[in-house]
Subunit: 341 residues, 2 copies
């Protein structure tokens, strides 16, 4: 017999903001790199290849005193039946007793923690005086990535958005994305960020002029070629999270400083996977995990002209850190439902 707390999507929407989530995700990366957080083997099942799958990512975070998992199920045909494509469910347990503590909707959390991850890559690897941000991909994640980067780069001037497969779509999405970015920034206490958001006229040209590029597409072939990228550019690659996905040209990996969220996961399902399978990259080519840079043990960017890549596959510890943050805020604000289990 135990009581658990339930936090719904709307509870979490109200409780979390990008600035706090970014701090929490940074702490979780550091715990991973210092052995205070660990990842357990991922469970992955395809119900129908390319149409429906599921994963369970789990692990523990000692400083937060929790372990738990996020289960994400993706059913591509759902929207036709009026259902969301994706369901995310997070559960948190007490690390000292194994007692279930909470069940949380993982949907809103996933967007926030993935936005935070892209921004953390840029914060520790991009040039501090970066002025131009290119967002490649105009799906649900785009505003979260943009707002998170803007919140750590107060002097960013331009944001270009681009949809590499369907350029027209970027124009349709511009207003919607800009609105969500404004509201996300406002929730983090940033009222008037000076950056101007517009559609990239030409992807190749925009890549060449950008200091920071964030990719968040479902692509399985490179949408950014190596020769387009100017010296000194940083790329946060968020899209590759299962085998076969790829967003940037394999040959970028020959010359870039490559930082990962988790070595094993990035080699098996991340942006590192294809270049490694093609023999252009290897485990030894990975510079370090991002937590080691945040922690100060390994320097980040060491040269103004180097190209840096952050391969973010998404790890359970990001979700657990968000869940822990949401739970402590919910307790203070007396939100959520308590149920006997």
């Amino acid at each position: 017999m135990s009581e658990i707390c339930i936090l719904s999507r709307s509870d979490i929407d109200g409780l979390l903001n990008l600035a706090e989530v970014t701090e929490a995700v940074e702490r979780s990366y550091v715990q991973k790199s210092t052995g205070k957080g660990s990842l357990w083997p991922m469970v992955f099942n395809e119900f129908e290849p390319g149409r429906a799958d599921l994963d369970i990512k789990s692990g523990d975070l000692a400083e937060e005193g929790i372990f738990g998992f996020k289960l994400v199920s993706w059913f591509g045909d759902n929207p036709r039946r009026g259902l969301p494509e994706l369901f995310g469910t997070v559960m948190v347990f007490d690390i000292n007793s194994g007692k279930p503590r909470a069940l949380l909707d993982g949907g809103a959390m996933t967007h926030l923690r993935t936005g935070a991850a892209g921004a953390i890559g840029a914060k520790y690897l991009a040039r501090p005086d970066s002025k131009n941000l290119l967002m490649v991909g105009t799906g649900g994640l785009a505003p979260f990535e943009i707002a998170a980067v803007l919140s750590v780069f107060p002097d960013m001037e331009n944001v270009w958005i681009s949809n590499p497969r369907d350029p027209e779509r970027a124009l349709d999405r511009l207003e919607g994305i800009s609105g969500v970015v404004r509201s996300l920034l406002a929730k983090s206490g940033i009222k008037n960020h000076g950056a101007r958001i517009s559609v990239a006229k030409d992807l190749k040209e925009a890549v060449g002029e950008s200091d920071v590029i964030v990719t968040a597409t479902p692509s399985t072939r490179p949408v950014i070629l190596a020769e387009w990228i100017a010296p000194g550019t940083h790329l946060s690659c968020m899209g590759s999270d299962m085998s076969g996905k790829q967003e940037i040209d394999s040959s970028v990996f020959r010359k870039a400083k490559v930082v990962v969220d988790d070595v094993e996961q990035c080699l098996s399902v991340g942006e590192c996977e294809i270049p490694t399978k093609e023999g252009l990259f290897s485990r030894e080519g990975i510079y370090c995990e991002i937590g080691e840079i945040i922690d100060g043990r390994v320097p980040g960017r060491t040269d103004r002209d180097e190209i840096t890549v952050f391969d973010s596959t998404g790890i359970a510890l990001q979700d657990l850190a968000c869940a822990s943050l949401a739970l402590s805020k919910a307790e203070r604000e007396n939100l959520g439902v308590t149920v006997e289990l």
Copy 2:
């Protein structure tokens, strides 16, 4: 946004009985053997070896239209702090949309489905005219194993209980176990089962006189020797569910007909593990999975004198079948709490 149903331990205690659970578990074994149910890789983590661990067992059951998991955390020091040693949590999702459907306490369910498993092994492998049952192990599972076997063997006459490491303990537990057995049988509609429950005076002797033996101990060395076992005996081994555990003499595997719940799991963490590592047994020695016998595709016992072993490691499909049963009964009886996620 979705609504999920929460069923607490006391809800489930009230909803499920052994007779129905046994039917549900049989159906889940059949689905496994016909490919309508599948098991996904198990997640296992040891927080402190021998003192605290956790596993997540997951899979899907097509006929029930669900997928899901059971997470079990075991913290051996909990009782000293007034907490249960074990927490079990089950979640169920819709197999056609990935939508979370329910969160259920997995504690009561685990006892019921493990009792059912032991009885199913006996039902399909023991001699139908079995008269004597020996229960080895006097922990929480014992009354569930006994009641489940009695409910499928109405003519069983004697039940002996034995605690191989601490024989005195069996006497202390006799009354408690008998009471729970009576109440479990009553819940399944069995009022006056003629079997007499008593303490085995001598384990070796009891083994020799038993038709059905159920073992449910945490043992890591054999508690039953091969030479004690009479021809025609059936053994349902429930205790071995992680690497290193063993309840019966490895050399039993040389001569017995060995049936498993899941080939891979039994070879890696079940009663089959040690004999296989010792070179006395191998994958090829496994007769079949229990679902194939229930389904009628493979005969069970074919000789009055053969020794049969059912190695039950416990699979997610048993829990999912129980959860599905509990949910449909809860719906009819309007039990449980519905919460927005």
